[in-house]
């Protein structure tokens, strides 16, 4: 099978939907002529024209609000926010309008739109362009939150996101855009709420998101050499969350590590840990460990930024700690 990048996989899903569904259109800063800050929308302006690939001014609240209106009246907008950091400019639109309309109109209004954002540090872009606070969106009822970790999942999940009748926060990862993987040329969807076992194992379960999946996979190979088999589960969608698969795995291994690039405090890993503690504590053979970012802004200094990012070394440390309980 051919290999394409994560950015190309999303681009392919967008192009297919633009081609096959006239209700679909894109909005965002620099997504047209420039092709998007990470080139996810590259080439789409030439193919579909400025009416459907709309470059907007720097006005997040404005164009997110416009998209919500368009979605309510029957279109299928896919909006790009350049960095997750900028969603804060449009929080009222996202939390109070996009997430609430379906509920407040008694189910008679709906907002079938996709809001594309990206997380991840490591590009030397400091505290306002490097954050990973995607947990915010899980916290607010009314939003779907998607977190693809590879090109295959990115394409399938984007196709599902555009079909979905609910507002979807599509959380991409900067480090993943250039990674390549096998992606079928044909159209396919991946259902929301279905986690994926990225690696089978019996000793420790790692539930990981985004780039933490790939980091965990590399660490798991190292530990396999010493006979420790790590199971890696990628939830793929954080809301809805496939707790059944996670619980099933933890019941088998008795040990859980959660890896997510957001801050551990009140983060994705905190929520997953709590679910397991509530529903499967009697199976736990070791404390639950979390691997994530520390409680500080992302540093600009490159060495500090590298220390900030939860990497293989942090996962290795967690596994070594947990190993003592085997």
């Amino acid at each position: 099978m051919r290999e394409i990048t994560y950015a190309q996989a999303i681009n392919e899903a967008l192009a297919y939907n633009l081609e096959n569904d006239e209700r679909v259109f894109l909005m965002g800063e620099d997504i047209g002529k420039y092709g998007g800050i990470f080139q996810v929308t590259a080439g789409l302006l030439d193919q579909f024209g400025p009416e459907r690939i709309i470059d907007t001014p720097i006005s997040e609240a404005g164009f997110v609000g416009a998209a919500i209106g368009a979605a309510m009246t029957g279109l299928r907008p896919v909006v790009e926010i350049m960095f997750i950091d900028f969603t804060t400019c449009a929080m009222d639109m996202i939390f109070n309008q996009m997430a609430k309309i379906h509920y407040m109109f008694g189910g008679r209004g709906k907002v079938p739109m996709v809001l594309r954002i990206n997380i991840g540090a490591g590009r030397g872009t400091a505290a306002q362009h490097s954050q990973s606070f995607h947990a915010f969106f899980i916290h607010i009822p009314g939003l779907m939150v998607v977190a693809p970790s590879n090109p295959y999942d990115a394409k399938g999940l984007m196709n599902t996101a555009i079909l979905d009748e609910n507002p979807v926060i599509f959380v991409e990862h900067k480090k993943l855009y250039a990674t390549k993987g096998h992606v079928p040329e044909e159209y396919y969807t991946i259902p929301f709420g279905k986690a994926d076992v990225k690696r089978k194992g019996k000793d420790i379960t790692i539930v990981a998101t985004h780039e933490m999946v790939n980091r965990s996979l590399r660490v798991a190979e190292e530990f396999a050499k010493e006979g420790i088999e790590i199971e890696i589960i990628d939830p793929r969608t954080l809301k809805p969350f496939d707790k059944e698969l996670v619980l099933e795995s933890v019941k088998k291994t008795g040990r859980l590590i959660v890896g997510d690039e957001g801050q551990v405090t009140c983060g994705v890993s905190a929520e997953i840990s709590a679910i397991v503690a509530e529903e499967a504590v009697e199976y736990l053979q070791a404390p639950i460990l979390r691997v994530g970012s520390p409680d500080t802004p992302v540093p600009f200094s490159p060495p500090l930024e590298q220390a900030y990012i939860p990497n293989e070394e942090d996962i290795r440390e967690a596994v070594n700690k947990m190993k003592e309980y085997i």
Binding site: G254, E282, Y283, L284, Q285, A286, E324, Y325
Partner: protein, 355 residues
């Protein structure tokens, strides 16, 4: 929250991972007896596995001892997953009543207290016997009141044995991976002597004397819950290396509560040593249905004349209790004399025994 509702009277300070705690509760195992192998000695589920053996062994003994329990109490205990062995009964003839089970289900929060506070708490209170304590009480009383005991004492010169041990201990450890103890020689010497005096390996059975087929020497080990006597089988046929290995293993597992029923029940003669205390000698109650038990006091220095010079020699006082129904005084005395001779001439005694 779980710790407080723990049904096993497990002190709150016992550290166990949740899976181990749940498992212990289900299996009716007292976690305070389990040795943890995780970080900071936390108990892991696998640590409980071997412990289950002793629990089932004790249960089997108790089945023989007939646990008296009301139907309601049994049902409640089963529902809550608490083992009846851990409950003291307050009903007629020690019958376990529902109230006793409920009492046992109450959380016990043991506080770390100074000695004086602890003293205040225990004096003037009634402590119900656990089933294990009851078994010990019943057996000791049965032995003391049905088997007429007679006691014999002799002083044994230990210098030769101590020197022999010192000469071989390093090489022995290299070969057998265990440090040989004076007790190991003692156990072996006892077994050889029993071969000469089979009545010390006998029991009263109805109106007959049954001489048991194997010479299995038990070693009394003090555990937290009470005394337990694991026995080394067919000691007369074993070399000292194997005896030392089995002794070390049985004592360790006795302390960890990991003995099997067979190991507790197979003894035909018992050795009880208080040599680590400043106890010169003591009388021991027979471990029923056995007919003999050897008590071992501290080895101490005694002044002695050697070739007209004042010198010291090492003396240990051995005591022998026998069941007078089977063993008469002369036989017991001859046994002890023979044992003394063997221990005082270790080279001759152990020379013929392959290690």
């Amino acid at each position: 929250m779980f710790q407080e509702s723990n049904t096993l009277n497990t002190p709150v300070q016992v550290k166990a991972v949740p899976a181990a705690r749940w498992k212990a509760r289900k299996e009716g195992i007292d976690l305070s007896l389990v040795k943890g192998s995780g970080p900071r000695k936390i108990i892991l589920p696998k640590d409980i596995e071997p412990y289950k053996v002793t629990i089932s062994a004790v249960k089997q003994i108790l089945i023989k001892e007939k646990v008296r329990v009301s139907t309601l109490a049994r049902k409640l205990a089963e529902k809550e997953g608490i083992s009846l062995e851990m409950i003291a009964g307050t009903g007629v003839r020690g019958r376990i009543m529902m109230a006793d089970v409920m009492q046992a289900l109450k959380p016990t929060i043991k506080k770390e207290k100074e000695g004086s506070a602890e003293d205040k708490e225990i004096f003037g209170t009634t402590i119900p016997m656990t089933q294990i304590r009851k078994v010990i009480a019943k057996r000791m009383a049965q032995s003391a009141f049905t088997a007429p005991h007679i006691y014999f004492f002799t002083d044994v010169e230990m210098d030769g044995l101590i020197q022999s041990r010192e000469k071989i201990v390093e090489a022995f450890e290299k070969e057998f991976k265990v440090r040989i103890s004076i007790n190991d020689f003692l156990i072996k010497a006892v077994a050889i002597t029993i071969r000469e005096f089979p009545m010390l390996n006998a029991m009263v059975k109805d109106e007959n004397i049954y001489v048991m087929p194997e010479i299995n020497v038990g070693l009394a080990v003090a555990m937290k819950e009470g005394l337990i006597v694991p026995a080394i089988p067919q000691v007369d046929r074993l070399g000292l290396g194997r005896i030392a290995q089995m002794r070390a293993d049985l004592v360790e597992r006795a302390r960890e509560g990991k003995l099997k029923l067979e190991e507790i029940e197979r003894g035909t003669f018992t050795v009880s040593s208080l040599a680590q205390f400043d106890i010169l000698f003591f009388t021991a109650i027979l471990n029923p249905p056995q007919s003999g038990i050897l008590s071992v006091g501290k080895t101490y220095d005694q002044l002695a004349l050697k070739n007209g010079q004042v010198d010291t020699k090492k003396i240990a006082r051995l005591g022998l209790s026998v069941d007078h129904r089977i063993v008469d005084g002369a036989v017991a005395a001859a046994f002890l004399q023979s044992l003394k001779n063997r221990l005082e001439n270790p080279i001759f005694t152990f020379m013929q025994q392959s290690f």
